[in-house]
């Protein structure tokens, strides 16, 4: 491969890792700072992606409408897609939080898992909603006409990095505020945070919704990158667990760790692909399973031997304390 090809490949790698970093940041709000056990990230991934697809594409007309069904198509710019994805994911998170956040942490896990599977089923079976298993395509990309389509990925990388940094800065800001300190108090000891007069349910709900909105943006960024989405993308493996491995590897409770983890694990994931290319022909079809097996073993090793991850949590978040 000549040098230009390698750079193009690295750019596509950096875009995907950046999108995963957004999910890690969202999960870090929920798990890293508040201890909310969300194992249905794929659900928010899916909802965010579909929300932006419906908002930014036009409703098919004429001949085209025979092949593509979708409930509506607003044909609005990219930025509205991002906002819409965030808002819808926030609403879904709010609804799922009502029955589960007052109960033990496992209940939220089971419920988020259920919502992820349910939404995948709905998008798969309800053709009128978003074209069923064939999914939607032809999503617009921001600043599309600016450069030659062959080099468009450079622009999109910049878009992803800017959004990632904005989200990073806003979470850092929120977490260093009194609000952020309450979240960590809730995580460490719910009872004593409650005794200090904090409304536990409310803070947990805010964290759940905030995190889900960030995940919605992640889903939207993914959809505009691939330009085509279908329900089979949002599986528990690609949509949820690889993100957990990234956050645990990078260091939960640390936003820099969340981003670092996304890039490191995505690098390992892609690197493992090169390794499985050397497998004998008969095993090649099974290569993705072998890769996932390795990633899951990595997770177990991290959980047992280095639960704090690469960077670990910053114990002091205020700049004023020495």
């Amino acid at each position: 491969m000549e040098i230009g090809g390698i750079i193009a490949y690295l750019v596509s790698l950096a875009i995907m890792a950046g999108i995963y970093a957004v999910f890690c940041l969202g999960l870090n709000i929920q798990w890293g700072y508040t201890g909310l056990f969300n194992i249905g990230i794929a659900g928010f991934f899916c909802i965010g992606a579909y929300a932006t697809a419906l908002i930014t594409t036009p409703k098919p007309t004429g001949m085209y409408a025979h092949y593509v069904q979708q409930i509506f198509g607003l044909n609005l710019p990219f930025i509205f897609g991002l906002l819409g994805a965030a808002i819808i994911c926030g609403v879904i998170a709010f609804l799922i939080g009502i029955p589960t956040l007052k109960l033990g942490e496992d209940y939220l896990a089971i419920a988020t898992l259920g919502i992820a599977e349910t939404f995948r089923l709905i998008f798969n079976n309800e053709h009128w909603l978003a074209n069923g298993p064939r999914g939607l395509m032809g999503l617009p990309q921001p600043l599309q006409g600016l450069v030659d389509p062959r080099h468009y990925n450079y622009i999109y990388l910049i878009v992803v990095v800017i959004i990632m940094v904005l989200i990073y800065l806003s979470i850092e800001r929120a977490i260093r505020s009194p609000w952020g300190r309450v979240l960590r108090a809730v995580r460490e000891d719910e009872v004593s945070a409650g005794m200090s007069g904090k409304d536990i349910f409310r803070f947990k709900m805010q964290s759940l919704v905030f995190g889900a909105m960030v995940m919605g943006i992640g889903g939207a960024l993914y959809a505009h990158y691939t330009k085509a989405i279908s329900p089979d993308v949002f599986t528990p493996l690609y949509g949820t667990f690889i993100i957990w491995v990234m956050l645990m590897a990078g260091g939960s409770g640390n936003n820099k760790g969340a981003i670092l983890g996304a890039y490191v694990v995505w690098g390992i994931w892609i690197g493992a692909k090169f390794m499985t290319d050397f497998l004998p022909y008969t095993l090649k079809a099974r290569a993705p399973y072998i890769r996932f097996l390795l990633v899951m073993i990595l997770l177990e090793i991290i959980l047992i031997y280095r639960p704090q991850g690469l960077l670990g949590e910053e114990k002091k978040v205020s700049k004023l304390i020495e």
Binding site: E105, I110, F241, M296, I304
Partner: protein, 302 residues
């Protein structure tokens, strides 16, 4: 409708086997074992390995019993698979969960570790057997019997109900009559009190995993006999298993039995109105309703 209810009881009895184990583990170890669904899958595939591999190699005849779809090979493979998966569950505890317990990691870390274990089991199955659906006996015609009320039921399904009944009675006797069973109930009731009374909790934990894994394996094999084998079969059971466990109150095995039957019937009856692929969503909606109305389940004390 009557037919759907009967099918629901068959499905529900399989869910119950998984839910009883999940409930036991949940009650005694206090964490949500997300690998439980994949114990079902593991059980089904270990039996497949025995039936089509080992047992045919050592020359056990392949005849079937009358109108049932299996014969001696399955009768031998069934208990072996239960033992193997029971051992897998115990091994996972030794390798992963016990280390986390000793480090004082929280219940969520254990749950996450079990989630990783679930994928490890499934990936191994996918690597060995691939992603296609498999059958214990491919291409076998399975005629149904006509019983009163116009219900069509296969002999296999009637046998499934008897096998589940047998295993539940066996478990009941174990918990009520044996010393280990009593100690397990005591531990599920109150861990601290059990410790003070000199009960060896590590041994209890081993037994809990063994029984939970074995029952799940039985459930997986029975589903494989009734429907088919698929690497994701157990994962698709996970939400119904949790729904049944929560409905029947965590830690209560009789509750898990009733919860399993309820979820199974609800899932099958729903196919009269909804696409069958929504079965999983039906279990999920029931679970959310329970959480809203009675989070401690039908046998829970407020």
């Amino acid at each position: 409708m009557a037919e759907l209810i009967v099918y629901g009881i068959v499905l529900g009895s399989i869910i119950s086997l998984g839910a009883i184990g999940l409930s036991l583990v949940y009650g005694i170890l206090r964490f949500a074992n997300f690998a439980h669904g994949d114990f079902l899958t593991a059980g089904a595939y270990v039996a497949l390995f025995m039936v089509t591999g080992v047992l045919s190699w050592i020359g056990i005849p392949d005849n079937t019993f009358g109108s049932l779809s299996f014969g001696w090979r399955m009768v031998i493979a069934f208990p072996i698979s239960m033992v193997v998966v029971g051992c897998v569950a115990i091994a996972l505890d030794r390798i992963l969960y016990r280390k986390l317990r000793q480090k004082g990691s929280g219940a969520v870390m254990l749950a996450m570790s079990s989630l990783g274990a679930a994928f490890i089991i499934r990936m191994i199955i996918l690597i060995i057997w691939g992603a296609d659906s498999l059958f214990y006996r491919p291409g076998l015609m399975r005629p149904a019997l006509e019983v009163p009320l116009g219900i069509k039921i296969r002999p296999d399904q009637i046998l499934i109900l008897f096998v589940v009944l047998f295993l539940v009675v066996l478990l009941h006797l174990f918990l009520k009559k044996t010393k280990m069973g009593k100690a397990m109930r005591a531990t599920a009731d109150n861990m601290e009190l059990a410790l003070i009374s000199g009960i060896n909790t590590e041994r209890i934990i081993i037994w809990t995993w063994g029984i939970g894994g074995a029952l799940a394996a039985a459930g997986g094999i029975l589903y494989g006999i009734d429907v088919q084998l698929h690497p994701y079969m157990g994962w698709n059971f996970l939400i119904p298993l949790f729904a049944a466990t929560i409905l029947g109150t965590i830690g209560n095995i009789y509750g898990a039995l009733i919860g399993g039957l309820t979820i199974g019937i609800a899932q099958q009856v729903s196919t009269a109105f909804l696409l069958p692929t929504y079965k999983l969503a039906v279990a999920f909606i029931i679970m959310i309703l329970i959480l809203l109305i009675r989070p401690k389940g039908i046998f829970g004390k407020e």
